[in-house]
């Protein structure tokens, strides 16, 4: 059998095996991805990177379940804020959100710079450097916690009284937060924060949103406004690609699996092109090679 005929009548299982290998290699062997870093992800990263030591960052987990686009973003940003000399407060407008934050906190690398002594590397402790306040059930709670957390919460996500947490004693209220990051799958979403928190002291707080690919175009007008200094977002992390870019900027390739997934995606795209070209070469060889079909 000529090789052209063999190629044209190739058993599809060889193709399936090739696809499996092409997807498996980038996932098993994380490599840096020659991704172009988009401006909105870069801005998000720079905002957190340039925060003065000892600043408070609020992470809002507004998605449920292992959302494939938002969860990697959340892991990357959480690692970033733990690594930097910052304090972290975790909230969630979706009931499953704080649960996802807890999943990340369980397994993430907790080493980072001490907010009180920025040149020293320590292991961050719960209660002192990071607190999970849990689900924000009502709008009244969101409005009230801006001024005081102890008046609106009695316990954190794990059931500890908030008055006993050193971080809450230090920062009793969102008004102290420098940056709020919301990982938003839909509604309720970061718009609520813009409405109730951003309007209080617009120049002081910065907002970043992590969004799935379908919602990203909706956030872009707010990003333009935020860049211009008005109420809006100073950074947008878009989908799995944003998580991969963030991971690359952070220098921890392989942290979320986003880069590997994107590498695998690219590899499979190019495999498809090669497969189509090969199939056509075989077709034309048989057609014009004088062989009986």
């Amino acid at each position: 059998m000529s090789w052209a005929r063999y190629l044209e009548e190739l058993d599809p299982r060889w193709i399936y095996l090739l696809v499996f290998i092409v997807i498996a290699i980038p996932i098993l062997i994380p490599m840096p991805s020659p991704l172009a870093i988009t401006q909105y992800t870069g801005d998000a990263f720079e905002t957190i990177e340039n925060l003065p030591p000892g600043s408070l960052v609020v992470l809002s987990f507004d998605y449920s379940g292992a959302n494939p686009e938002l969860h990697p973003q959340a892991i990357a940003v959480m690692r970033h804020v733990i690594k930097r000399p910052l304090y972290v407060m975790i909230v969630g407008m979706w009931s499953d959100g704080p649960i996802m934050a807890h999943q990340i906190w369980k397994t993430i690398d907790k080493t980072g710079y001490d907010p009180e002594n920025p040149s020293q590397i320590i292991t961050k402790e719960y209660g002192k450097h990071i607190v999970n306040l849990g689900y924000l059930a009502t709008t009244a709670l969101i409005v009230g916690m801006y001024d005081s957390i102890t008046e609106n919460f009695s316990e954190d996500f794990y059931g500890n009284p908030v008055t006993e947490l050193p971080l809450i004693q230090k920062f009793d209220g969102i008004k102290h937060a420098a940056v709020v990051v919301s990982f938003a799958a839909g509604s309720p979403g970061p718009g609520t924060y813009l409405q109730y928190w951003a309007t209080q002291k617009p120049e002081f707080h910065k907002f970043i949103v992590g969004s799935p690919a379908v919602s990203a175009p909706g956030f872009m007008p707010y990003y333009e406004a935020g860049k211009a200094g008005e109420i809006g977002y100073v950074g947008v992390i878009v989908s799995l690609r944003g998580a991969a870019e963030y991971e690359t900027l952070l220098g921890e390739i392989g942290l979320t699996g986003a880069t590997a997934a994107l590498n695998a995606q690219s590899a499979v795209h190019y495999l498809l092109v090669i497969a189509v070209v090969l199939g056509n070469i075989a077709y034309f060889m048989r057609k014009y090679g004088g062989e009986e079909r």
Binding site: P12, Y16, V19, S266, L272, A275, V276, N280
Partner: protein
Amino acid sequence: MGISLADYRRSIPLLLAFIFGLLYAFEWYVDIRIGDFSLSSFLEKEMLRYFNAMYSIAIGIGAINIFRIHYRTVSRRRPYWEFSLLVLILIPVMAIISTLGGRYAIDPKGEVIPKAVYDFFNPIWNVLYWKVMSIINVMMFALLGFFIISAGYRAFRARNLDSAILLLAGILVVMGQAPVNAAVWPGFETIKNWLMDVPNVAGRRGIILGAAIGGLAYGVRVIFAYERRPTLAGGE
């Protein structure tokens, strides 16, 4: 319109289709309020409840069909009857576990059924749902990746000018979609964006418009009984 009292099995569905078809079409444009009654909320909320009730009862009939088919396969020992036996066992088992301990369990707070029952079945349901069913679902979705490559390999042949253009456009879009295309050549993304925003949107709009008009015409045919529609009384 062909409605007659004698042929009631055909006439009643036609009459109902005519009345409700016109009513829903009318309501889209004009809302009538008489005191507390509002036509739009009646059609959108009240009628919906009746439809939901119908749907919920009908699912039982679907379940009966599943059991009937698989029971016959098992009782006649047709090829692969073992899988049918598995279906016959697993459907009621999962139904019971979901009812007693699932996400929409019948009594999660233990008000009637002892809480111990929910506490026993809930972890089992979590494993079966999140660790088995969800994963199988994701796996089936993942099969698409393999099929796309094998379908692309097999089907994209430049047999004539049309298919050659299709092939070229397809390759350019795929190259532009690959996340690392910017490292290869940034032009791919520009070409891809143009192809997706101009010819692709034009073609799609054409198909959508055509289908919408066709749907409109179909709706008119159904409402005014020009169409020999499938009904439970038979389609002819």
